[in-house]
């Protein structure tokens, strides 16, 4: 039996714009995934703790405040510290092109900017899960 893909969509940092996060959450829901939305202004600690309790396969981080270079890698680092490195982490929001290589080097699997079709994100998740679907 194929299990459900569980995804945590989180907004680290201090900006209050969660429209993009909600659109992604909705699209993943419609793709048959179980999406946990944790709301605005989450610390990396809160995000990782929730991801572990929810036993998710994927974390999607959305940020528009500009603090991505600090907050995204911190999430990956905390996952490693908790022994949960089999969680796929991707990012989205307003992220300058030149920051993407750095983020990828820090373990962010992919970064989806504004205008990315949701189907692309869905395909990416399905193709890159770190835990098998059975």
């Amino acid at each position: 039996m194929e299990r459900k893909i569980r995804v945590l969509i989180a907004k680290p940092g201090l900006d209050g714009h969660d429209r993009g996060a909600k659109v992604i959450a909705r699209a993943l829901r419609d793709a048959g995934m179980e999406v946990i939305y944790t709301g605005l202004r989450q610390t990396p600690e809160q995000i990782v703790s929730a991801a572990i309790q929810e036993d998710v396969d994927v974390i999607g981080l959305s940020i528009l405040s500009g603090a991505h270079n600090h907050l995204f890698p911190r999430v990956v680092e905390l996952l490693k510290q908790s022994g949960a490195e089999n969680v796929l982490v991707f990012g989205g929001g307003v992220i300058p092109e030149e920051d993407i290589p750095f983020l990828k080097s820090k373990g962010i699997a992919e970064v989806f900017g504004p205008g990315t079709p949701t189907s692309k994100t869905i395909e990416f998740i399905r193709a890159n899960l770190k835990r098998p679907l059975n």
Binding site: Y37, A50, Q53, D55
Partner: protein
């Protein structure tokens, strides 16, 4: 598998989360391993929180967690939200209100999707409660999906059900309907700062009093004359009696305090109030009065008003349940139900096996070509299932 279960029992958060996932996915080995460990169950107080969508269940749960933590209790939360019947996906958003507790090691929050279950909780909820119980959480809060009138599966798994209501949902007929209003052990009128909160409190209380009287045989069933005679009193309680007028001080009443049922409510006609008080006093004289009239509390979850009192009421009520033997009765009833569910699940599993699916297919064709009727074919299939069940090897045996 046994290592995973052992890790759960030592309170390892990742193991707890992992095991719940396996149970949600219907992993038979995980179920078998969990249920075989008899000695780890029954310590946690299992509290159900149910009510319509948007009533404030999650916000109330968030504030209740804080109250239980102040009392030094570890809290596990299972928050259920609906799966899409179309895509099978879900947005699990209850956790959003409780994220303040995400990094507290004494709190474990898990979102569950209903995955096709229609009773307000998911199929794996009961097993997940057992996991949290075994992992050492003193309180397990189960928040149901937003319910309508008949999603009452929560009573099968919770020791105590808190039914959350809000002003403005309907008139007093809604509170006397069958279904959801029958399962509350504690009633909460949330958003009590809104107009009409006191009216809802009165309507619920009138419903509860009437129910207690009916149970006591004070109003003979099928006795319309007696019922008619009592109607003014009922109407009076609901605030619908002629000449009734709300008073400002009544509407601004403090939250959280259960309005004493033996004191006439302010703003009501003195005559009728006295009659009612006498009846209630008569009830208070019987031992089980504490259990027959459920508490009705007002809260404003957003600000936390009344939540301390709710937490106290929950803990006191649980104590009463265990003292009076009611807890034992409820848990026994719950186990009976679980056994029934187990058998249904086993049959469903057997029917999904290829040989049974083939038999079903063949019988369906016979019915279609009028060689057999549905009744005989159904019985034939049933007997095949029983035979298969007896010979089939699976982890539970």
């Amino acid at each position: 598998m046994n290592d995973l279960i052992r890790a759960c029992f030592s309170g390892d958060v990742r193991a707890v989360a992992r095991l719940i996932t396996l149970l949600e996915n219907g992993d038979r080995e995980a179920y078998a391993a969990l249920y075989r460990l008899k000695d780890h169950a029954g310590r946690a107080q299992v509290i159900g929180i149910t009510g319509p969508p948007g009533a404030g269940k999650s916000t109330l749960a968030d504030k209740l967690i804080a109250q239980f933590r102040l009392r030094g209790l570890k809290v596990g939360v299972l928050a259920v939200d609906p799966s899409s019947p179309f895509s099978g996906g879900a947005i699990l958003g209850d956790r959003l209100r409780m994220q303040g507790h995400a990094t507290d090691p004494g709190v474990f929050i898990r979102s569950l999707a209903t995955r096709g279950s229609l009773g307000g909780i998911s199929k794996a909820t009961h097993a997940a409660i057992r996991v949290l119980d075994a992992a050492g959480y003193d309180i397990v809060l189960v928040e149901t999906v937003g319910v309508g009138q008949s999603e009452i599966d929560i009573v099968r798994v919770a020791d105590l059900v808190v039914l959350v209501s809000v002003p403005g949902l309907g008139d007093d007929i809604q509170v006397i309907k069958a279904g959801i209003m029958e399962i509350g052990d504690i009633f909460v009128v949330n958003k009590a700062d809104r107009d009409g909160a006191d009216r809802v409190v009165r309507e619920i209380r009138a419903m509860l009093e009437l129910q207690a009287q009916l149970r006591r045989g004070q109003i003979p069933k099928g006795g319309p004359d007696t019922l008619a005679a009592r109607a003014p009193e009922f109407l009076h309680h609901t605030g619908l009696a002629e000449g009734w007028e709300p008073r400002a001080d009544n509407e601004s009443g403090a939250t959280g305090k259960e309005e004493s049922i033996t004191t006439p409510t302010p703003g009501v006609r003195p005559g009728a109030g006295t009659v009612s008080a006498a009846l209630v006093n008569q009830e208070a004289g019987t031992i089980s009065a504490a259990l027959t009239i459920a508490p009705v509390l007002k809260t404003i979850a957003e600000t936390g008003d009344g939540v301390k009192e709710l937490a106290d009421t929950i803990l006191n009520h649980f104590e009463t349940l265990s003292r009076t033997g009611e807890l034992e009765r409820k848990r026994l009833e719950s186990i009976r139900y679980q056994l029934g569910q187990f058998v249904s699940n086993e049959i469903a599993h057997l029917m999904s096996l290829p040989e049974l699916a083939a038999a079903q297919d063949e019988l369906a064709r016979k019915v279609f070509s009028r060689k057999m009727d549905v009744y005989s074919a159904g019985l034939a299939l049933f007997h095949t299932i029983i035979e298969q069940g007896a010979s089939h090897e699976h982890p539970q045996t």
